[in-house]
Symmetry: C2
């Protein structure tokens, strides 16, 4: 029985987790794949750094080619991050006929199509379950579990940092900046949190999910992105009164053959399963034509959860090696990309306005909506501290983005509208 | 490009769904498996019955051998139900080298091991994703998605009928009999609901989940089963006051190498993701050593959801056919079955007592608990209508089943304890 040799690129949080899981679960791996598995070499930045993981008989190297050019290495696992340089390293690995597992969402979101083509060309597997929603086996769920269905809509809470922040803001009625500072202290947010809070991280994951779910090459440039840094605890409170929970939601939706993909702070109807996904947890809600509503829930990040997904991918690579079918299960996208236009994107919207508290104002505002054929699901009027002003919250029925944006423009031109305080997408049903 | 020929056993709700999905999603199937797929023959009880599904070019037959002996049939899909006779039919199908997909939980719970062995012996696939939790791809999630992890605990809401009943009882404060009658009218419950409400259906599914999750042949006889027919709306109300939601939960748990599997009405802590699974929906919560908490949510039954799982299995069979690896991915159980003894099963318990409202009674009761080393997490005392009586609700910390049962015995012997009104397991954390 031959031992399978692994080359690991990166020994950070996830890399250490991979080494530990391969070590701790050697029995289960042996039983399932029929041979021992050993990490032989690890690419690291600093060879002499102290590590809290057992590395006996493992060669640490600063040169990727020590791994890529080693004919003994069967599988390359990439958990080092980075985009351009990492792409070249993985292309070389594939061209050298090495199986590849990666946890790198940034890379897959940008160069996924090219890498998957190289893998297919070389009869190699390229698996990347860990790149979306850490420990949740969502990619395999979409590709295998729901293989026979037509996915119509995907909604994801796919960024743990923002979900932690929004959960605390909502449960403790605290301001964004305040909770962000706490999240940074606790290590749930980076010192530069931009990529998380501005939605870029979530957008990358939605790119990967939409590409798989719709069998269409969706690029990062196709995703409309808005972050949570402007969400206020006041907004969240208004939403609560209407039965909504604020979440950063990635949405990928198709009607007929056209798709839209976006990430934005969204009010989710409280009874929807996504509304109960709290703190740093992730969840991906999938609406399939036949299956209806399903949801996959779990930890979106963390050393061991992410490493679990990586090693599960590794085991699928090894099963394929045993059967001699690596790279043969890959399926190229079925459809050419077609994106919806703003008049084809429909959603409900929550709109909060500060208006003059005068006779006729309400009629003036609502008539703009009706001129655009948009009606209301909920209306809430509240007094404000400043005299002569009133605050109105409107929730529309489904409206096209084009119509809604035109309405916003016309509203901001009205003398009676003092400020458009906030505007959010509302989700919870299926349209 | 050759057409793959399917023989379908059964044309009820799920069978019709299978015919529809194969027809409607032919393009996606073609793209993924590389050849057309056609249902050729269907085994039915009544050939002349009117059907609401298009059956052009499909032969209906009353004789299973028309399918089993037909060398043109590549795959047999079983959605007719039944146990002993169906087992013999599927054994013959496998021995005739046909790939098999089944949605039959009763069959797999009772004869799964034998059938899987026959499949392996004949180099055939035997897939049964639809047998547990309909449209939720949980079996694949356990086997592939969490392949590298050690599953410690599975908790499932795996019976839609009982979840519908308990949801309505809880949300509308209605009695069991009342809601059951409604469920029967709506078609959510059978006219003889025994198998659902007494937990047998859930037990069968837990048998399948535990066998896969723990890689150990668990039999139906190993599952401790209690149904919901004695749950009262009063109990549910008391639970609510303590922050619990009542669910029929299947639990499979292991410590070291020993396991326990049970199904019982259980109070789930409100913040736990299972507490938000309402109506006829199903969910399986998985606790893995490395991944932590994950949950798979979706429709547990229904024509199209279940058929989605069946056809997804079919597509995995077809991918394997293309690669020539059918039956080679199966993994026999790794461990010999070892069941926990009652002194090794730990849980929290909710206990509701009606006691004499006298000095010293409370001390008398609680001292029995402390003699057995069991302490309390929550205590609630409430007045009752009948004079001279009080009602006490106790929630214990973790106690062994042995200790807890001894406590119950001693309590019922006390003169001051009028009635043990109810007793439930409490779940929500991980022990």
């Amino acid at each position: 029985m031959e031992t399978i040799s692994i080359g690991l690129l990166g020994l950070g949080t996830v890399g250490s987790g991979v080494v530990k899981i391969i070590e701790n679960h050697q029995d289960k791996i042996m039983h399932q794949v029929g041979c021992p598995v050993k990490v032989r070499k690890i690419l690291v930045k600093n060879i002499n750094k102290e590590r809290d993981v057992e590395l006996t008989d493992i060669l640490l190297t600063g040169d990727a080619n020590d791994i890529l050019d080693d004919p003994e290495i069967d599988v390359v696992i990439e958990v080092m991050g980075g985009i351009e340089e990492t792409k070249n390293i993985l292309l070389k690995a594939l061209n050298n006929k090495k199986q590849v597992v990666t946890a790198n969402k940034d890379l897959m979101a940008v160069h996924g199509a090219e890498l998957l083509q190289a893998a297919s060309h070389n009869n190699c597997d390229l698996f990347y379950e860990a790149s979306v929603a850490g420990g949740i086996p969502i990619l395999r769920g979409l590709v295998d579990g729901l293989a026979s269905d037509r996915i119509v809509k995907l909604m994801g809470i796919v960024n743990g940092t923002t979900n932690f922040i929004l959960t605390k803001m909502s449960q403790q009625q605290r301001a964004y900046e305040d909770v962000l500072a706490e999240a940074q202290e606790l290590g749930f947010a980076e010192s530069d949190p931009t990529s998380d809070v501005e939605g870029l991280d979530a957008a990358r994951k939605m790119t990967i999910l939409a590409t798989l779910g719709f069998s269409m090459n969706i690029g990062l440039e196709d995703v409309k992105v808005q972050g949570i840094s402007n969400v206020t605890d006041e907004d969240i409170l208004y939403g609560k009164q209407l039965g909504y929970t604020m979440k950063l939601i990635g949405i990928a939706q198709r009607n007929e053959e056209k798709v839209e993909v976006s990430v934005q702070p969204t009010f989710i109807v409280d009874s929807h399963p996504l509304a109960s996904v709290h703190n740093e947890y992730n969840a991906v809600y999938v609406y399939g034509e036949a299956v209806g509503q399903t949801m996959f829930y779990g930890p979106g990040a963390g050393s061991l959860p992410t490493a679990t997904a990586v090693v599960s991918d590794l085991m699928n690579v090894l099963k394929n090696m045993r059967l001699g079918v690596n790279g043969k299960g890959a399926i190229a996208p079925q459809f050419k990309k077609k994106l919806k236009e703003p008049d084809e994107m429909f959603s409900k919207y929550f709109l909060r306005l500060q208006v003059k508290d005068e006779v006729g104002v309400f009629a003036e505002i609502t008539s703009i909506f009706s001129q655009h054929g948009v009606s209301f699901e909920k209306i809430l009027q509240l007094p404000v501290k400043e005299k002569g002003l009133a605050e109105i919250v409107l929730v529309t029925h489904h409206a096209s983005l084009l119509n809604y944006e035109n309405i916003l423009l016309e509203l901001s031109d009205l003398a009676s509208v003092r400020t458009v305080k906030s505007s959010y997408r509302v989700e919870g049903g299926i349209k």
